[in-house]
């Protein structure tokens, strides 16, 4: 169920250039049903900035009632969010949307998880859940440069992890596709989250494979009421437009026209 929760910040840490990891505690955590769901955060009690910010859930600890989000502090809203300290309260609406289907990869099978920049966070909880059920995960994580890299160690603990940077300052130089070409097609499922051009390249390269992609779109309500966040579907689909916030953000490969 979607709830509006005043969650307590239990920690706030800068983990890479402009990238913050925030842990939040509250009953909303109990409502999360799948990795890749997101929350809609009001960064301050003021009406300026006005809109909530959609941020993916990066990790869940049900026992502690705690979730982790990882975000880039770039614009006005996320900069304000990055100034919250442990003990502060934050107004969080969620969990929202449909996440990555863990059940689509069976125990013993292999999955490849490809993330770009701030698309990396939701893959962490996904990988935790997949590996917990006995899926072998390979991670391909792309960043701009070595300053922007985060969670390399955390992902490495869960499975094979390839870091790619555009400028080559860490790991492989180039794009995630550079590594993907080397890894080949020997996996059951792919899961991805990142910028549109990356998703497009991945869908092309893995044409015919089972895959799930998480999309971004500017949002108003975050719950499906305002029609702000639609994306167009491919011709085959029965619906012309689908909503990223409530129908997505994760869709099977081939559904969204990119």
């Amino acid at each position: 169920m979607i709830i509006q929760d005043r969650m307590t910040v239990t920690s706030q840490q800068q983990i890479a250039h402009n990238i913050f990891e925030m842990k939040l505690n509250g009953k909303l955590v109990g409502e999360i049903t799948s990795p890749g769901q997101f929350v809609h955060i009001r960064v301050s009690d003021s009406f300026e900035p006005l809109l909530r910010r959609p941020i993916s859930i990066a990790s869940i600890d049900q026992d502690a009632g705690e979730m982790t989000i990882i975000y880039r502090a770039e614009g006005r809203g996320t900069t304000i969010l990055s100034q919250r300290r442990a003990g502060d309260e934050v107004d969080v609406l969620g969990p929202l949307g449909n996440g990555f289907p863990v059940e689509e990869t069976a125990t013993g099978e292999t999955a490849i998880l490809i993330g770009g920049g701030i698309g990396v966070p939701p893959l962490y909880e996904l990988s935790k859940q997949l590996t917990a059920k006995g899926v072998k995960c390979t991670h391909v994580l792309g960043f701009q440069s070595k300053d922007a890299v985060f969670y390399e160690e955390e992902f490495s603990k869960l499975g094979e992890t390839h870091i790619v940077t555009v400028d080559g300052s860490r790991g492989t130089a180039g794009f995630v596709t550079t590594v993907m070409e080397e890894l080949g097609n020997e996996f059951s499922t792919y899961y991805s989250c990142g910028p549109m051009p990356m998703l497009e390249a991945i869908e092309k390269m893995y044409a015919g494979k089972k895959g799930f992609l998480s999309f971004e779109q500017r949002m108003g309500c975050g719950i499906g009421a305002c029609f702000a966040c639609v994306c167009q579907t491919t011709e085959g689909s029965e619906k012309a437009y689908i909503k990223v916030c409530s129908d997505g953000p994760v869709f099977p490969a081939g559904v969204v026209a990119i």
Binding site: R42, F47, L50, Q217, R218, I223, A225, C226, F227
Partner: protein, 304 residues
């Protein structure tokens, strides 16, 4: 006695608070969050004769204390609304105000005629003011003669009272208000959004795919209050006011300016519980102001 009840043409409101059209879909999403019977009424998303896909994305952009939208009237069309949306809302004890949009008079008339017959539709809201549709729409709202004729045509076929939604993007809003009153409107709803634009810093191009969008939220409240004030002095039909409402104090302001009821738009996105919260806070606010029944607030600003 219910201190919050308001009687308007076609509408027996248990309280004067309702979500604004386009900011609440057809109720289903907010219906997951709270009991929709708490609301005074619901203004549903604009309905057109045929289904509309709306504009390309991005459709929204944030601005200082406001937002721009150019959804472009995406909706499932008259048939879709009659069959797929309105019946679900019948389970709630809440009057529906159906927002009607079109590109020419014939569209409006057809939608108005059919949708006004739905059992839970107690009033129509004629959207002559949407800034985000390229042809029609906006012209109806800026020319007094055309607005009057459209109102008259819709009144002829509607089974329920007709409210006309005014555009703030005009030199003299009083002129349009008086024209729709002359055309037989039972009430006025105002304001729709102000036309605005935001550019991307890096490219210099508009953020919103449509170019311009409609400005809403707290930023526009002073303009909305001024216009409600002016129009309420100039017409004898009731006004449902809106534009930037976020909290209970704003309800007091709109009613003081001359509105008989108030709609809440953008604020639903920021605080999905804003409508029931305001309704709950109203009685204490009336006590604070020493006011017995909420109707005493209406047009307070005009009195000495």
């Amino acid at each position: 006695m219910n201190r919050l009840s308001i009687e308007l043409p076609g509408l027996s409101l248990k309280n004067p608070i309702m979500p604004a059209s386009g900011c609440f879909g057809f109720g289903k999403e907010y219906g997951q969050l709270y009991d929709l019977s708490l609301l005074g009424a619901i203004m549903i998303k604009s309905t057109t004769l045929e289904m509309r896909l709306g504009n390309p994305t991005p459709r929204v952009a944030e601005t200082a204390s406001g937002m721009l939208n150019a959804i472009g009237l995406q909706n499932p069309g008259l048939k879709g609304v009659l069959e797929g949306e309105l019946p679900w809302l019948e389970q709630f004890d809440v009057p529906i105000i159906a927002n009607v949009a079109g590109t020419e008079t014939a569209d409006y008339v057809e939608v108005a005629k059919m949708i006004s017959q739905a059992p839970n539709v107690k009033a129509l809201e004629l959207n002559i003011s949407c800034p985000n549709v390229k042809c029609g729409g906006i012209t109806f709202g800026t020319d007094p003669e055309i607005a009057k004729e459209l109102t008259r045509a819709v009144k002829e076929v509607s089974s329920v009272p007709v409210y006309v939604k005014l555009s703030p993007n005009v030199t003299t809003i009083v002129e349009i208000a008086q024209a729709v009153e002359a055309g037989g409107a039972d009430g006025i709803t105002m304001i729709n959004t102000l036309i605005g634009m935001r550019l991307d810093q890096k490219t210099g191009r508009p953020v919103i795919a449509n170019g311009t969008g409609g400005l809403s939220g707290p930023a526009v409240k002073p303009v909305a209050i001024r216009m409600v004030y002016e129009v309420s002095k100039a017409v004898n039909i009731p006004i449902i006011g809106m534009g930037g409402v976020t909290e209970v104090a704003d309800i007091i302001d709109f009613m003081s300016a001359g509105a008989s009821a108030v709609a809440v738009g953008t604020a639903n996105f920021v605080n999905p519980f804003v409508c029931p919260q305001i309704i709950e806070q109203l009685p204490a606010k009336l006590d604070e102001l020493g006011i017995n029944h909420i109707s005493e607030l209406i047009g307070r600003s005009h009195r000495l």
